[in-house]
């Protein structure tokens, strides 16, 4: 009891824990660009967990291709995939609405495949 300043709580363990949390979140941060719409995914029993660090497109129920919050044209898709994947060959995930047109989906997959070898369709579990 030499002075009021010395009665402080020892914050060193707190800083240690916070630093560890900070480093964990920095390392695990994968800044993916979300398409900006929510779609009704089709059900699939063989669905597997997809790569988290992916280029995500969405195909809405009125057949609009969405990327990063805006509507894009089919011809822009290969360029966007190349730009987003930065020559690292990121996989492409397509969130398709189950009421979208399947021929648009087929064309979108074909366009994305020009720049990425791994193109997936997001689904949901049959129970969900």
């Amino acid at each position: 009891m030499t002075g009021s300043d010395t009665n402080d709580i020892n914050v060193s363990p707190l800083i240690d824990v916070v630093f560890i949390l900070l480093i964990f979140f920095i390392v695990s941060a994968t800044f993916v660009t979300l398409p900006g719409i929510e779609v009704a995914r089709p059900r699939a029993v063989t669905g597997k967990a997809l790569e988290k660090n992916a280029v995500i497109f969405a195909l809405s129920s009125d057949n609009e291709i969405k990327y990063a919050g805006s509507t894009v044209q089919l011809e822009e898709v290969p360029g966007l995939v190349q730009l987003a994947s930065k020559d690292k060959g990121k996989p492409v995930v397509i969130q398709v609405d189950q009421w979208a047109d399947a021929s648009v989906l087929a064309k979108l997959i074909a366009e994305a495949r020009k720049k990425s070898s791994d193109v997936s369709i997001a689904t949901r579990k049959p129970s969900a």
Partner: protein, 132 residues
């Protein structure tokens, strides 16, 4: 020198409060910025036609006309028949499946057909659009 001697050695510590503030702000930023995208999905793989010399056999073709039906060799079938058809052809060769969709067919149905084909053991599934 006089000041240091006159106080306890504990009181000469660096003030860490601004450091903690900064670290907390960074921590909250990274927590918020971490987007937990946990997607499940199917990956329709199809073989590279330029390199595959064993790809001579005809793929199993399913047609999805705009009427919303599922047609195999001109016969309308149910979605639950896809997996047995693919599985029954697995005996001699690894089947590759082609899903031909017409404008107006539902993407949900096309995805379910691909899903059932992969359930039946198809190695390569290709979705192709028919232009009409």
């Amino acid at each position: 020198m006089k000041r240091r001697l006159s106080q306890d050695p504990e009181n000469t510590e660096i003030n860490v409060s601004p450091l903690i503030d900064l670290v907390f702000i960074l921590l909250i930023f990274f927590i918020v910025a971490t987007s937990f995208v946990n997607e499940v999905g199917i990956t329709p793989k199809h073989k590279d036609t330029a390199s595959a010399s064993t790809n001579m056999e005809e793929p199993l073709a399913f047609d999805l006309p705009a009427s919303g039906q599922l047609v195999r060799d001109g016969v309308t079938i149910g979605i639950e028949q896809v997996a047995p058809i693919v599985r029954s052809s697995t005996g001699d060769k690894a089947p590759s499946v082609l899903v031909r969709v017409s404008p107006g067919a539902r993407a949900g149905l096309a995805t379910e057909v691909m899903d059932q084909a992969m359930l039946g053991g198809a190695l390569a599934v290709k979705l192709s659009a028919l232009n009409q």
